[in-house]
Symmetry: C2
Subunit: 463 residues, 2 copies
Amino acid sequence: MTESTETVLARVDQDLDKSLERLFALLRIPSISAQPRHAGDCRKAAEWVRDELTALGFAASLRETPGHPMVVGHDESPAEGLHVLFYGHYDVQPTDPLSLWKSDPFEPSITTEADGRRIVVARGASDDKGQLLTFIEACRAWKAVHGTLPVRVSILIEGEEESGGANLMPFLKANATELKADVALICDTGMPDRKTPAITTSLRGLVGEEVEIVCATHDLHSGMFGNAARNPIELLCKALGSVRDDSGHVTLPGFYDNVVVPSDTVRAQWRAIFPDDSATLAPVGLSQPAGEAGFTAIEQIWARPSYEINGISGGYEGDGFKTVLPAKAMAKVSFRLVPGQDPEAIRAAFRAHIRAVLPADAKVSFTEHGASTGFAVPEDGPLLRTALDALGEEWGVPAVSIGCGGSIPVVAEVKEALDMDSLLVGFAQDDDRIHSPNEQYGVESFHKGIRSWVRILDAFSRR
Amino acid sequence: MTESTETVLARVDQDLDKSLERLFALLRIPSISAQPRHAGDCRKAAEWVRDELTALGFAASLRETPGHPMVVGHDESPAEGLHVLFYGHYDVQPTDPLSLWKSDPFEPSITTEADGRRIVVARGASDDKGQLLTFIEACRAWKAVHGTLPVRVSILIEGEEESGGANLMPFLKANATELKADVALICDTGMPDRKTPAITTSLRGLVGEEVEIVCATHDLHSGMFGNAARNPIELLCKALGSVRDDSGHVTLPGFYDNVVVPSDTVRAQWRAIFPDDSATLAPVGLSQPAGEAGFTAIEQIWARPSYEINGISGGYEGDGFKTVLPAKAMAKVSFRLVPGQDPEAIRAAFRAHIRAVLPADAKVSFTEHGASTGFAVPEDGPLLRTALDALGEEWGVPAVSIGCGGSIPVVAEVKEALDMDSLLVGFAQDDDRIHSPNEQYGVESFHKGIRSWVRILDAFSRR
């Protein structure tokens, strides 16, 4: 690292409070992409990002899609050399159940934990507003000190990552020439613990489905029809309850086709970080991994496909009791996929299973909620080692390659549309409560995240 | 029937519009007993009934309970002779889903069906405001013509029939001397078709349960924990989906202990009214009875116990999709019981089943929502034949004894607390949509219901 880079890092430290103020401003915008009533807020968040990039000297603009707009910015202060495309998303998850939040999800605050850690609490603090700003603030510090960036930087911030992201792939394809770079940098992942920096080299994909079962033409009185009329909730329970057996094994035919078990070497590395399951499960009050026997909890999350019921609804859900025999019931389910699994084959197998168990009087309908394949980033990618080393310098601990149980469809889409590999560098913690009430992001994640990007951009410019 | 009774019937016909106006006034009060915010409306409905009875010359009053108040009225214009206790309930079911109502549930209207039938549409039109007013309007007509009633009449109208009715039994016991009569008349049942009057001689009881399963300490991201963390919705589905097997047989140990199959004679009578299942199921869009093989749909409803899931809730139920792995899930379930079954034994067997299928990381809690036994009214009761004959005169078709799949706990409670048999005379139709959106009550049910009571009271006075 050069002395001039030290100056950039010092600038990051000096400006941290202002960086946090900017994070707060973005967090105050309730950009929930799944809820149509927040469409205006999504646009507001996009405009906020565009304006920040413009102020930094990027050629930035909003780009319309059939859904929420994209933000694209380019800074080519160095006219040649390595070109990176940074990706993040300005949209956030819904906030329900709102009653479990200790403060307004869109009125961010900094609080201090019992262990002294300072955290930013708000919806999107970690996923992904805090994370995406680590990169933008790193660019800001570089620009402030040098007037230029060390490498060519393009930035793409989307607004539908949390709601299916159907418009990203067409957008990438339609703008492939503009967006193509040497590597994509994606900041939407986490660290395996508080101290160890990491780059995520495997991801799970996702198939999302909504299933609705309708029996009678209207809700019935259970006294007048109970026993003789089909109960759609019961049918839904039978259908959804038989997708996975009691040993955690998914029973859909072909579900595990082409699934590769991680090598013994990889499993050994992971077990070194997580010697037992308690580090994974105890923080959320659990003790036993629920997936297939023979795999540790972290292997179940990073390397094995899952089946989840994400929501269910039917009949009377309010106070007290209602002796209704409901006409319909609904569930939202998803499968997390590992590399090798075909999302559409699994969607078809799920639908076939549901249809096979339903009797004649039940009508079923399905709604797609996205599909993406699992993905593995090549372990020998040319920039991976450089980035791991830069992270290790910042955190004082060697950086590791890890898996991620989440879906980041952009990785596969960037590969397909732009023929470009991705580096997944993120600073989230497992207890950031992303997608849950009281989402948080460590001030240290934010601060050292900015510093990490300063070092990575520096290392990239000198390779 | 005497000429003076013809005069009373004529008075009923002449006053029908005013009777309907009074019904509308009661229907406009949203007396939903299960929802605490409607407590004031329940009291308002009770006061309305009290005021009507007072105006008719009853000694009527509100009687406080730990829940919604009772209304009790006595008219002893004939000082001796037969004494009847009429029972009904002024409370109604919740109205959700409100979006399926074609008009405001508490703004009653009369509409004409395609077949020319005129119906009153409102929550409670049939269950039980329309039904209870048939009796009160019959009393009104008697009083208007004769100044007295033909038999001694006491009236008890409660306000918690739709929400557990926990306060009725203590009230009956505490006021047994006051409420004891020769027979209870209960108007909360229906007719097997449009033309055949009926008295219901068997009823199912009910066990209501709410079950909540909690796994993690908070909602999780399915990408970060999916597979390794227990999913309470999946556990709930497995547990609830295995209570009844695919042949409609409930698998809880001891569930069918002491259940008596109806005699061949009774089954033959029922099959004469319902030669096949289509009359029962086709009106609600169904074709196959869902209960145990070997029983017709009407037998499954009138004479066999049932298991129903009345409501289920968990995770994300809103628009779009949320990749949440929820911390908890809830369901409301009930069993309809036939005579011989022990409600508390069945509750215990259900809880044991749920506990047995849950793994270590799942915590379960249960909430009781009422219990009542099934009940059979003696076929040879002294007043049954008299009442059947009076009904047959009004409707021009012989009246029949039928079963009812619903729970009317007051029958067993009146028997236990007051040592009194009940006659269940009602005029509801199977398509009244009670407990459902667009509840209705035929103007003919209301009108001939009033006339039926005039004849029954007359017949009772002359036996």
